[in-house]
Symmetry: D3
Subunit: 245 residues, 6 copies
Amino acid sequence: EITIVRADRRKQKEIRPFEIILNPNKYAEGSSLIKMGSTQVLCCATLDEYVPPFIKDTGKGWIDAEYSMLPRSSQTRVPRESVKGKIKGRTHEIQRLIGRSLRAVVDLSLIPEKHIIIDCDVLQADGGTRTASITGGFIALVLALRKLLKENVIEKMPVERYLAAISVGILDGEVILDLNYEEDSACSVDMNLVMTDKKELVEVQATGEEEVFDKKQLDRMIEYGWYGIQQLIKAEKNLLAHQLL
Amino acid sequence: EITIVRADRRKQKEIRPFEIILNPNKYAEGSSLIKMGSTQVLCCATLDEYVPPFIKDTGKGWIDAEYSMLPRSSQTRVPRESVKGKIKGRTHEIQRLIGRSLRAVVDLSLIPEKHIIIDCDVLQADGGTRTASITGGFIALVLALRKLLKENVIEKMPVERYLAAISVGILDGEVILDLNYEEDSACSVDMNLVMTDKKELVEVQATGEEEVFDKKQLDRMIEYGWYGIQQLIKAEKNLLAHQLL
Amino acid sequence: EITIVRADRRKQKEIRPFEIILNPNKYAEGSSLIKMGSTQVLCCATLDEYVPPFIKDTGKGWIDAEYSMLPRSSQTRVPRESVKGKIKGRTHEIQRLIGRSLRAVVDLSLIPEKHIIIDCDVLQADGGTRTASITGGFIALVLALRKLLKENVIEKMPVERYLAAISVGILDGEVILDLNYEEDSACSVDMNLVMTDKKELVEVQATGEEEVFDKKQLDRMIEYGWYGIQQLIKAEKNLLAHQLL
Amino acid sequence: EITIVRADRRKQKEIRPFEIILNPNKYAEGSSLIKMGSTQVLCCATLDEYVPPFIKDTGKGWIDAEYSMLPRSSQTRVPRESVKGKIKGRTHEIQRLIGRSLRAVVDLSLIPEKHIIIDCDVLQADGGTRTASITGGFIALVLALRKLLKENVIEKMPVERYLAAISVGILDGEVILDLNYEEDSACSVDMNLVMTDKKELVEVQATGEEEVFDKKQLDRMIEYGWYGIQQLIKAEKNLLAHQLL
Amino acid sequence: EITIVRADRRKQKEIRPFEIILNPNKYAEGSSLIKMGSTQVLCCATLDEYVPPFIKDTGKGWIDAEYSMLPRSSQTRVPRESVKGKIKGRTHEIQRLIGRSLRAVVDLSLIPEKHIIIDCDVLQADGGTRTASITGGFIALVLALRKLLKENVIEKMPVERYLAAISVGILDGEVILDLNYEEDSACSVDMNLVMTDKKELVEVQATGEEEVFDKKQLDRMIEYGWYGIQQLIKAEKNLLAHQLL
Amino acid sequence: EITIVRADRRKQKEIRPFEIILNPNKYAEGSSLIKMGSTQVLCCATLDEYVPPFIKDTGKGWIDAEYSMLPRSSQTRVPRESVKGKIKGRTHEIQRLIGRSLRAVVDLSLIPEKHIIIDCDVLQADGGTRTASITGGFIALVLALRKLLKENVIEKMPVERYLAAISVGILDGEVILDLNYEEDSACSVDMNLVMTDKKELVEVQATGEEEVFDKKQLDRMIEYGWYGIQQLIKAEKNLLAHQLL
């Protein structure tokens, strides 16, 4: 059974070499630098003083994310959003996805009236920056929560599952895993998948780019995605010494 | 087998009464007013003079959407984005979804160097405004394309499939179809599904709201969604006299 | 005495067919949909939580308006102000006029520390949108005040006069009443007149568009305007069952 | 016949001492500094390089105005609009009025494809800044047009009438002319009147501030206003040596 | 020893004729109008109600400056920053310099929890507007502090030194003092120097404009600058009757 | 001779351990990562497509810089400027300084009609970020120019001098070199010094922070600064293999 050949010789179901560095940042409550192929994202978790009004008196806390690309993180320089004075739609979409994914595995009632921001700054982009941000952001979050726990700011670890994310796509009818930039541009269907170590789904975003797809393809993309996510979660477990606490 | 009781007595798999009015607007190239329960969205398709630079000399055209809620479309008045001077992340996320969904069923090479904007203005909101915008926007788009065809602005109808969208959710472990505002707020999982009359998937966005879900539930949500989408597409076909042309 | 012929065969002193629908909106404290010819404005009155600082501790309340045109309310699509991030001068001018006109007939000391916003959203524009907003906004306001009275939020109806507005212009030296878009563009002088049922003046804005006019013409414009306003107020009285309370 | 006593002992129909200085600015094509009582406005006319797109190929030119108050022009410091990043509604309303008033006495076809901006910067504000801006702006405009004529940038003087503006109000039922800040705040009705030396009306803006008024009062306000405008125009004629050219 | 000839026949070490008018503004706590050649800056000191959060509970006060150019203060009209909605980098740089320079000679602990804003509005610009703003701003500040002292808002005069500023440059290898616009554009090196009457340095900003310079030249520029500053401080002392109190 | 003790045991005239990494970024024409103590700045040089209008037809090119701090680069999280929609004054001031410093050692006529942007993104901040940006930006610029030379985009190396920058301050009356954050906050005088390998001055910015200083201190600060700059330039020469070409 002959399949498509990928530019970097990877198999369809093969993810790129990856690396996660713990606490590269001196000041953040928790941080990570995640590299997936040439994609590099610095993730910093901050216990923020500003508490959004909608959690006041709810007994719950809040976690959200901010995402940004350095101007020269991509092949063509991307103008700064601060210069334009506006945050792009794509940025909004991504940071909402990251925040939502992380909240899904946190018991917000265990961080009462606290606000944690996950800053995901893309140093270099070669596809999959949003899924790398989720994986790296999860690590930064856990490290921050451990610190808050140690300092008695919170009483109990509010995370009980591991979380990771990966992209999957359909290229020339074939499902491929962990797209780089070039593949991402060429794919007719593009999926971002976020799952836990217990094989639970957190977010499924499958999108036809000027194309449609069928249920069988969706199922296959989820299967491939889970295959990749398992490897990421295995690495997370090693890095965190097999305990979230 | 006893299931949950919905506030408006609907069955789990039952969509709300809906109505689509053709061309309520005097000026737009094509327009529709879609009502799904208390949700009302006015969709207007415009052949815009401004052509985005990225389609210049590509031989292709472009379709995108703008989405907005009237301040008093919802229970609590929502301040205008023009007053804040910023477009919210949610708005960006929604209008990107609408545009992407519509482009998936249009052969953009048949509207060369043309730019069509679909304005989706929510007059009243009671859940499902983004999926109603896709369904209503599809009708407005087809009406506009028919007009452009008649006036020889384009040569061939670039749409060959019908398109509709619906929301599905999980409430107390049960899948329910076409959520109203109250249900949407209560659901632990929320899915927006966009499909064609040929049962093809265009967009699957399933999201755990501080919750996770499993593959079986995803499959069931898609099954329920397709059940509802079929009814919307049937209505579309009747309204359009069973031909896209 | 031969006069000019209007495109829609109206007499100089004839207003367009009009219709006012009460409470088309499900959520607002009071609302109206006003149609004057092809012009359609949805007016919603909201008791807003935000109270402007300048009325704090004054024993008085405040009423103001926001005005906006849907992008495809006019022949050529108007870009959203939210996209530009700025509110246009024309919009500011109009919403200040609407607010001022409504405040002139309200005893603000009877809505102490309350803030009411009148949202005027133009669904379709064919001239006279600002005067239609005043007339429709007045109805929405009265309906909202009735509701607040019923719910004991306020103690006494703070409105004692009926209010309506109309546009008048000078075309080829002749005064004409209730201009549509085409006439408005052609007029050398343009007046917006706001009056009460007691023939009192609330606002007179007469403007030479690259032209001047004389006192006799001003007097005539006011006379014509009053003629039209009387018809609108008669309709208002019928709709409100001949009592403001 | 006993009337109200004004704080500065003026008669009801008396304007404040005023002064107009020609060309105080070294760079502008034409400029004036107008003082009406304590109100001081610096008006500069510029032949701008930027030509608004809507006059392209119309054979006509355009004149508009920008208005701004220095932060400490008023009793309480007014924050800069540049700091807020937004232009206030009041500013928009005023600069539209100034531009419209000036255009009414200019034959725009005699400044083809030219754009003239009148900058009106309030150095000190004590009521009547918008009417002072119109009077001072008229002088600056005429001086600029003379210069353009001399330099053969235009061929014929496009102004044939003198123009001036004044405010009138109703205080305790009495009409008073040329309101200072304190009077302006106290008036129940406020009118800005713009007229030519030929007694023609250019702009009538009469506004009830939480009050109404009748036709007789309107007539009287116009009569008073004309009385004041005549004095301003007389001064203009002297300053300009009794010829617009 | 032959030196360069300056357009206005000044010697290298000669400053322009200058004039400082005390309290030209009716409302400000203190104000000055400074003219250095054709450069004119209106400086107004305001005791502002808004107190920046970072001085709360520090026992200290704060002084900062805002700087702006009127659109027609320069040869070519400069668009308003309020229209662009952004403050330019140059403006920020200048107003930070003015504020910092003034704070250096004020004992902030003597204006506890007070905030003073110095508004520097350039009416006409011909080089040296930032240094003129510092000199004029110092006078306005002293006048304001005297007033606050008299009104017992503060207890002791917090200024004990005189302050003035001047520009110096290198043109064709020669040091020249107090540059006008034309000279400023031609200079290869440009220095802004702020000093006290006790010959102390407050700010030295020497900048190569696409050029470099050596230590000897820096020393000479400081010597020339001090020569000019002495003259300005002498005038300040005369104007303030030889006492800061 | 006893002097102050610095927290990190450095001598007054000692700079922090530093490291410069060449081309850490995959896409930029040239890049560097500079670490001075805990301060880390990523500098990327881009040949930008956008050419500022003011260099059109001048035969010259342009170089400017953009500076930004990642939110968690500092002890307390700094909100993104893109979220605020405004660039801070400090940022403007810094990026103008970087651009000016680099232009001083480049012959802009050798990069005709070209625009190079130097992006300086602070990953971690511990004092001296602006001077580190100049040193690191210089390296990134040279690497980019080498690449452009190799690709025949330019004909001759436009840089002939090495450039570096350092901060100096006065603490308790003593001059200290290369301030970290804590020292920077404590210093009464703060200088940023930019010099070339030929001991030429490019920028001298000495500032009294609510303090003044004398000429002798200025001289000493320059002497110390030059001592530190020599070490940085030595490292630059080694890294660049002792030739700019």
